[in-house]
Symmetry: D2
Subunit: 388 residues, 4 copies
């Protein structure tokens, strides 16, 4: 058996004061598959070098600029240079960096949304179709074992024919004017950095992606509205939509960042003619299954737990009752991305959301903006994106 | 102190095999304020007399027909004849009986919805305005102490200015073709008996009424859709709407009877700029309060429990931790209706939903039907009904 | 079919300011089986007459004294006099009144504990054995449908051979010196009125009775200790014991009234070699069932709910999701007591705890006092009481 | 700012098929503070080399034996050799390896319990007192932020004077004869490898340690019993005890591995004269706080969450609502251990359980064995171990 070398990883963004960069580093570190070798963490030189020092990055591989990093790393010997670049910048840079990185020969693991505009994301999709590089999108919630279990139970017909889906994602952290003093809030409410939607780009895409993944079905159309509640805020912070699935099921999608007191309460419920199920992110290790005509059951995550599908088991590290959480969910994406890199796969990494999710997410954002502008016209999105 | 005589009550509907009639009798019996003295329980003579016998009703005051009952009772001496009539028939008889009963001098306590058609309910409203008789509508959920507590906390400004309201009422009992063998399901899905809407008439009105009560605000407009999922079913069994409140808040209303495995999961969440709250019918003795910037709190029903408003305390019979439920909620309506009768109040009984709730409920049903027919046009309903 | 006449009921105790008397009246009223016809509600004349007036009791049948009441009622014609007497006085009067009532020919429904002393309760048991009168004991929690469901599931072998039982009953209402100002607390902490134990007599007996009922097995021995936490308090307010069952299972019993912030959190968990189950009074409509090697299941109370035994169904009035609670649990005792009265049963009323529960409860209290005094000696109680 | 080098870590035990070794590696990897450089993972040569390869360990630093490893590593240059050794073998080797490692100059991070016998653990304590090496003990649950929050709230007097503590640790995984086919179960039920107690050594020590930590108080005496339920099992699999704290509080400790269907349900409840609190491991991000006379509150883990103490905040990596779990709890021990190593601290690592916890754990096990053998004699343990 040959020694398993860690994959060399670089990071763009994620300097001191950022949130999601550290999350990616924790997640990549959890299973020991990656080694951070270089970074362009911040355009602020002091922040950049402090971050690099804290992360034990050689100053020669600490870059002031992402273009410099891609260029310099590409010139290093193949056994030294980074293999995958993690993009944790504000949204507007996601596509430009992704395109350049792929062109320079690197795999890309990118925070969501894939970009700020459907057009640019479709361009990225084109570029990926003609490349052998892997592209992963951090739809973190799709790394949870019990999200896979929910999808599996629906695929197995345990709910029968699907009729209804309700997804909701209430947060409360933007209830007040956070953008005046909180860096995270600042860029997420700035159209130049975040894109055309605030709440839908930031969390609506998670809710949308969860629906399409769990049902293994596309949203065909939606009719919704967006709201902005805090004075001076430049993007929506709240919205809801009625949705239709290609299979004929219908439902409701809610995403809001002004639900005062809510933390991060993403939840999905699905109902078919034979039963229903429910999963919620804040108690992620359970799927409640409600078969018609029998007591309801709770399937639980964990090694050795009864009734789990292989995809769920593969995403657990501990026996039942030892809760795993958000970092483990993202680590599952990294773990599967590492498998694909080591396998030499091209295109999509199995078990990791890819550009298709990115395209669908932007189609969702566009449709929400259009429907809200038109006072509740149904917007069709079934035709956007390749088949998954 | 004079002896408190029980109020003489008659019942129309509620024979063997019916559900809600027994609920009313339990609720009316709980506090000892009423004595059932007469009834027209069923058009089936055998059922009618069996029901009467089981309830210890004199055969002379067991009537084969509701008109006969109103006529005969009106002719009895004032100290003997029934004082209030409880209407627990299918919906299409609610208004005709109510009108006749009021005319004959009886107070009316009626199951919801108030009728099958907005027009007839407005007529009933007119009749009540020129009568001194009391009219109560069994919006049972408005009898729960913690629903009053939620309303109180909003009135006190504990949530600040209201931005969002989400109400949902998923049930699963009509997931299959129940109407083929279940009497309850049969009439509730028959347009001639239930009215123009199935799910919205049966449970959507509860969700709608809960929103207007808890927020002490009217829904100004809604945009929604209705669905029918079971083959051969003649009325909607599911629907959802985006809603706007007169105050400017917005939200979502969901009501469905095909959420397989769900029991009776009515739930409301409200968010303002200072906090949020949540109440759910299946754990009715708690209000979760989420103040912005402090740990969330749980207010609990019960005599001696901290933080409760008077309206909540008045609706509790036991100390905290001795759960009260659905029958006690309806008993609270009966208790308050008894107070009003004994006080000689006219028009509205304090603490009991009245004709205004009935009118609003029908306006809601009409708007849901119209919006769904028009493919998501906003329907305005702020102008329907007198002010509460 | 003959008309079902309500059973004529009298009450001793339960005047204004008492708690449990009103609970009994609500419970007896819920199903319409009883009519309160007489009472000796309080030794305070004003309280007595006010209570009687509020309850519409004829002043001629409002008695200043319980002996007077028993004598006077016994002299009334059989179709007029009370049939059953409800005893809701402090504990020290339970046995004297019960004995006198039985002797005078009345059925007895008594608050628990059955008495203050094992000896007097054994005397009462003897008296009942030679009488045809019915005796019911208000172990209210044994009226809950899901307590019967739990017992049924164990009887059916769904847990296999029972190994462990944990029962706990934490309350917090005596955390401070309540007896200085709260009537309820006053007599419950007075040895002359409450008996030799405070907490064990008041709530420990409930926990103990629940174990014996759900397991359908006797506690054979216990080893425990009692504590008193509030200065000046004259009886224990807290205690715990290790217990052994006759079947060989072992467990823990906790009862405390100084668990600050707890309401009335009675809970039982049972484990066998094939599975476990859990029921808690504050969410009384669920039994959690944990079969070994399968996802856990939740059985839910309600008409039409899957998997329920007949004894559970018979104790439900509403469909699933319409919560029933504490008053309904006690009403179930009253309903079954009414059935037994109407059937002319003698001795034990089916489905209602009787003198056997009373004897066992006092044996438990005695053993707790003895074990605590002896610094943790095992006290055997398997030999106390007739077989159930 | 100087670059932060990872700490060089070696591991003894943790080969393929073991559970806890991987947990330690995940935890050590999460924050990037450690680099695994050597190991003696298994006495099975194939397992050892496979594990090493999978972990990218140089074959020259993959040792067939722990003594060899300590010797060889000690001879490497200071900048190369391992700095800390992680011990994840069966219990009987914990002390021998710890003693040798300290003597050889390595810091030790050891799975719990510290050893199999109080005597050997006291010897280890002596050795540590005369060494400058750090010793950490993996009482993982003491790494949870909300366990620190609970301790803090008690220290701040938010509960007043403590009266009661209930701790319980039900598991179900040893309900059947697991040791016949499950390696984990095999050694944990073998007295030669696990020590004199099965359940108390494995999980009772966690429950005990949690009580002493959260209350910041010692158990002074206990009176308990042990049971073995599965035929042929050689050690206890279940037990319970009444406990007394030095402060005067009393309580109950339950630990069992035959609670069929339970996962890993460690839970603690504490009550004082001003309030109570509750924490449970399976929902580790909440502390329920029940102040006397006010609605109960829920304190929630997460960056930016209200009301948290510094010790809790320091143990969070994500904002509220992004659940962290068991691996993060252990990672918090590793993170604090890294801080102490880098600081050059000697003796105890701040925020990490040390030899004192080890000594107390063994004193607990000894007392449980002695009390159970003596049929419920109180065993005093307040005098065992140095002050924390």
């Amino acid at each position: 058996m040959a020694r398993t070398q860690p994959i060399r990883m670089g990071m763009i963004g994620g300097g001191e004061g950022a949130f999601i960069g550290a999350v990616h580093r924790h997640a990549a570190g959890l299973d020991g598959d990656y080694k951070l070798v270089c970074g362009a963490f911040s355009r602020d030189a002091k922040n950049n070098s402090n971050t690099a020092d804290a992360l034990n990055i050689d100053s020669q591989r600490t870059y002031s600029d992402w273009q410099l990093m891609l260029d310099a790393e590409a010139k290093l010997p193949p056994t030294e240079r980074m293999e995958v670049v993690v993009i944790v910048t504000p949204n507007h840079l996601h596509v430009p960096i992704s395109l350049a990185a792929i062109k320079a020969g690197f795999h890309v693991f990118c925070e969501k949304p894939a970009g700020v505009d459907l057009g640019e994301v479709l361009d990225l999709q084109d570029a990926l179709l003609s490349s052998d590089r892997l592209y992963g999108l951090a739809h973190t919630y799709l790394g949870y074992p019990m999200v896979w279990q929910a999808r599996h139970m629906i695929e197995q017909g345990m709910l029968g024919s699907i009729r209804k889906v309700f997804v909701e994602y209430p947060q409360g952290w933007l209830s007040a004017n956070e953008e005046s003093h909180n860096k995270q809030a600042e860029w997420r409410t700035d159209p130049a950095l975040a894109g055309g939607s605030g709440c839908m780009g930031d969390i609506g895409t998670h809710a949308f992606g969860l629906v399409e993944f769990v049902l293994n079905d596309n949203v065909s159309a939606l009719c919704g509205e967006l709201h902005t509640h805090v004075e001076g805020r430049r993007l929506d912070d709240d919205g809801a939509a009625l949705i239709k699935m290609e299979s004929g099921a219908t439902g409701v999608l809610i995403a809001s960042q002004v639900c005062a007191g809510e933390e991060n309460a993403l939840k999905i419920r699905v109902y078919g003619d034979k039963g229903g199920l429910e999963w919620q992110q804040m108690e992620p290790n359970s799927v409640v299954y409600r078969p018609l005509g029998a007591p309801y059951q709770v399937f639980r995550a964990g090694l050795g737990q009864p009734g789990l599908c292989n995809e769920a088991i593969d995403r657990c590290r501990t026996p039942g009752g030892h809760p795993e959480g958000y970092l483990e969910a993202m680590a599952n994406l990294y773990k599967n991305f590492a498998v694909a890199i080591r396998n030499g796969d091209s295109g999509k990494a199995k078990g990791v959301p890819g550009i298709h999710s990115g395209v669908r997410g932007l189609a969702f954002i566009s449709a929400m903006l259009a429907s809200s502008d038109s006072d509740m016209k149904w917007e069709t999105i079934s035709n956007v994106g390749l088949q998954n």
